[in-house]
Assembly symmetry: C2
Homo-oligomer: 204 residues x 2
């Protein structure tokens, strides 16, 4: 692995240590595979640091990321039982969010998405987690369900030490502009092109 | 998540079911972040399928991927204790490989890399695992430590149902040519550019 060389030392009045421990906004976008899997890979690192991690899945799908959910919530259970690692919460926007008494409807994804975002705002204000994974959240902005200016303001003004990882294609430029780390996953080869459908263990 | 639409149905004499359960060669490359994290995210899915997973880290580094190693080997331990998920092995090329009696030297990375590859060949022939993660293996080819034609032949002729995920920059074109899934991670924004060094939980 090439060692990270710091090309510039900014004149921002902060020490290297302060910069080292900056909470990050991370965006994984692009048409290639690996956007969400890389986010969950980051969650493994957070778990090992003892961080509290919360995953929010924003787009309803027949293919929930069951493999990652099982594995990460198992790690959360290990934390509860042995104290190793950190706690893990996994919330999905299926039929309403798990914390909500309201049953979601298949028809009102926009309302459910707004409710999910409002909960994330509350948790950020309360500094509830150290790592948030907002899976497929770019679509929520793209489809206008949540206002991008509000998201940008909330992320920029979040208190304390809270990393936020956002995945999905076509992220709004205003979101990309505030990302500390943005990676575009570009499709070079994909079995769909050969007429092969997704398979267990690889796609979910 | 957009549903995967199969653009073409190939005339290769195989059924859709056969194509669905094809073992894949997956390559994550590019200068952006997420190559290895996405590979370990895939390992979460494999674990949940009950697959045997083995990770081989090929490049010595002060920054081993400790977070992922701890998390994935913890999942392997859960499997041993409860039967959930699958077994996980994690091997790194530090001072010789863990299965070897020979102590590696700091000087002979090429020899250690060849020994690691020979072990992977033995395991592929024995169908020992369902998922192999060859982390940073592209450099082993780039630096000529292992012959790319031999790697291509071994991968193409591997028996049974064994997925192989390879990470690292600048993969050899012959390797890319046989990849079923290849994703290039492109750097769009990175905190190193702002003079920020790597931090725990994010970089390792």
């Amino acid at each position: 692995m090439p060692q990270g060389q710091v090309p510039t030392t900014p004149d921002d009045g902060r020490t290297t240590r302060q910069r080292r421990h900056s909470p990050l906004v991370v965006v994984h976008h692009g048409a290639g595979k690996g956007k969400s899997t890389a986010a969950f890979g980051l969650a493994l690192r957070g778990w090992n640091q003892g961080w509290s991690t919360a995953v929010f899945q924003f787009v309803k799908s027949a293919k929930w990321r069951i493999g990652e959910e099982q594995a990460l919530t198992t790690l959360g259970r290990v934390h509860e039982q042995t104290g190793e690692g950190g706690p893990v919460e996994w919330h999905k926007m299926g039929s309403g969010w798990s914390w909500s008494r309201k049953a979601g409807t298949e028809e009102d994804h926009a309302r459910d998405a707004r409710e999910g975002w409002a909960e994330i705002q509350r948790r950020l204000a309360a500094e509830q987690h150290q790592m948030y994974v907002l899976d497929e959240f770019s679509y929520v902005l793209k489809w206008g369900w949540v206002d991008v200016a509000e998201v940008v303001e909330t992320l920029q003004q979040r208190p304390g030490y809270q990393h936020v990882v956002i995945t999905g294609r076509d992220p709004h430029p205003d979101l990309l502009a505030i990302a500390d780390v943005a990676t575009e996953m570009t499709k070079v080869a994909h079995p769909f092109d050969k007429g092969q459908k997704g398979q267990k263990g690889i796609e979910w």
